[in-house]
Amino acid sequence: MTDVRAEVAALLARFDLQTVDPVEFLGARFDAGLAWVHFPVGRGGLGRPRDEQQVVEQLLAEAGAPAPDLGLNSIGLGMAAPTLIAFGTPEQQDRYLRPLFTCEEIWCQLFSEPGAGSDLAGVATRAVLDGDTWVVNGQKVWTSGAQNAQRAILVARTDPTVVKHAGLSYFVVDMSDPGVDVRPLRQITGEAEFNEVFLNDVRVPDADRVGAVGAGWRVATTTLNNERVAIGSGADREAGQIGIVTERWRRDPSVRSAAEHDRLMSWWVETEVTRLAGERLRQQLAMGQPGPESSAMKLAFAKQAQQVSGFALELDPDAGLQYDDWTMVRTGSASFLGRGPGFRYLRAKGNSIEGGTSEIMRNVVSERVLGLPADHRPDKGVPFNEVAR
């Protein structure tokens, strides 16, 4: 039985970490099966239990080894890779996983559309087969990092005559296709962290379809479950927005007031119990798969980030009335705790929308955790092209 510690040691022994090229090192790490130890041998893994990955990460971090850029390639590493390993063909896995892991190829996600936000299965972007190539037309939105991406995962409608969940397929798209038009989407913070992506006769070989024709919803669900887990990662006490407020409260008596004190303590308690609940959920899931319970955690994180960042402005009104910078800049990843208090307040508003709105999370909890009956869905059993939109 392989010992991952020995594998890590062997990998590290081959390089001078002071001088090594990160791409070369990451390629070697992939080849050694230490990218994702629970993936199959030859596909970046060793077929080991998932929790051994933590050991690998820790040892490599301690050694100061180069790591993949989680900010730049979060979609690739967090969402595309597990989806490809679950549903991709051997050829797709061979072609895509290694450059994805070395970050030679950055990935983005083409799921949401202006008309398909919460109702993600309502995507209208069409893919029509022309010989052995799909021709894709439509408009996607909320695509972070599209301006840096070489590849995208796409959900498109391949059959509008069946019910909405059944007519979708899942593809890998080459972002250099001339039919791909990426436009920055400015947010209320002033930044453009996301993009709109217009797809005009984009051509996708059938070999880049992931999963069967019509199985796109099931494939996308795997992708999204990985997203929601990523959101609920561990944290120390007073992490996040509350830490910024408590640091200020301790440092600066001028912001203290009796009227705000009990509110501060209430938010402290809320944040702490959410941290504990997240930790408890991680302990429960340590051996298992992500489940709908994590949707409840996402609810809590969003609520606290929003309320506490708003409270922070009230603590220091003269600062809160000002803003750091409205200049439009394009960013490749989200920043929640950087910049000024106004930015944090505004950016936190997205926490209850992106990755599934809080309303959708409550539906998930009530139906899949509590077992309450589904609400009325007029499109149930109705072909997509006969449904009101």
Partner: protein, 353 residues
Amino acid sequence: MTDLLYSDVEESLRSSVRGALKRTVDPSTVAALYDAPDTDVSPAWSALAGDLGLAGLLVPEERGGAGASAREASVVLEELGRAVAPVPFLESAVIATTALLAVDARDVLPQVASGDRRAVLVLPWSARAGAWSAGEAVTAPVAGALGADLFLVPTSVDGTVRLVLHETADVTPLTSLDMSRPLASVAPTDEGRVLAEGEAAVAAVDAALAAGAALLASEQLGVAQWCLETTVEYAKTRIQFARPIGSFQAIKHRLADLYLEVTQAQAAARYAADTLAAQDPDAPVAQAVAQSYCSDVAVHAAEEALQLHGGIGMTWEHGVHLYLKRAKSDQLALGTPAAHRADLAGLVDLPQH
């Protein structure tokens, strides 16, 4: 109990203001201020101050104004809130004018009333009656200072407060959370002229801030109403899961709760305006109630508007962010809700200890 409804005259004024704003302000103009703070928005103020004579709304006729009351001013502010209008009505025509009226500044009142000159009370925008301090060389952040030409500066010399009128000042723009109400730092550069001293000066400043707080509630009401109405309309037309999202009960119930809050805010704002107009002894209570309540309702309405618009609400191109920024700034302006509740406790004899 006072009259909490709107008179025909008030409704007619509303209609004029709404018309003028429709012609001179649109969301894209307001949004442009964030990238280009020097975007020309003067047509709006010209239409209101000049054509409609609103600069002198609160000024008696014998001082060149319209001789109207806080009730009419509150209706104007509801409309300004609804349009997130970038005009200094609250700053000049309400707050500074109230101070000038308190000291009966006969020479400048006609100029202010005509709209020829714009006045500003030079205090941080977070100040409130009974909780401000005079005497900084540079004051920030001040609202309504950009473009003003009469600076009312509370100063303190040897413990005596004076209200000094300056005609020139270094005014440095600040980047504001709400660029439709741009803030600045202000340092007077001329010698100035004392308008009042001691208790009279303090009383003039307190009256100005109290009037501002009382009527800011109506601006907040206007913001909240726009958010509620816009979100209700969006919920009727936005289809997800083959249904208008406004048919989902969870959304319906939240909008019903928000309607209730807006209804309560409206009554509170009206009461604050009416008691201010009538110089009712209950006015300070009415102001503290209105400010502590309407501030939070406007923020809640804007936050719900953003959330229920979903992703589109997070975009620069949709107007809801302009209202969120105004609502949050208004919550901090002229005293936070908690500060007003603390004031209220003193007024109604509910001490903390």
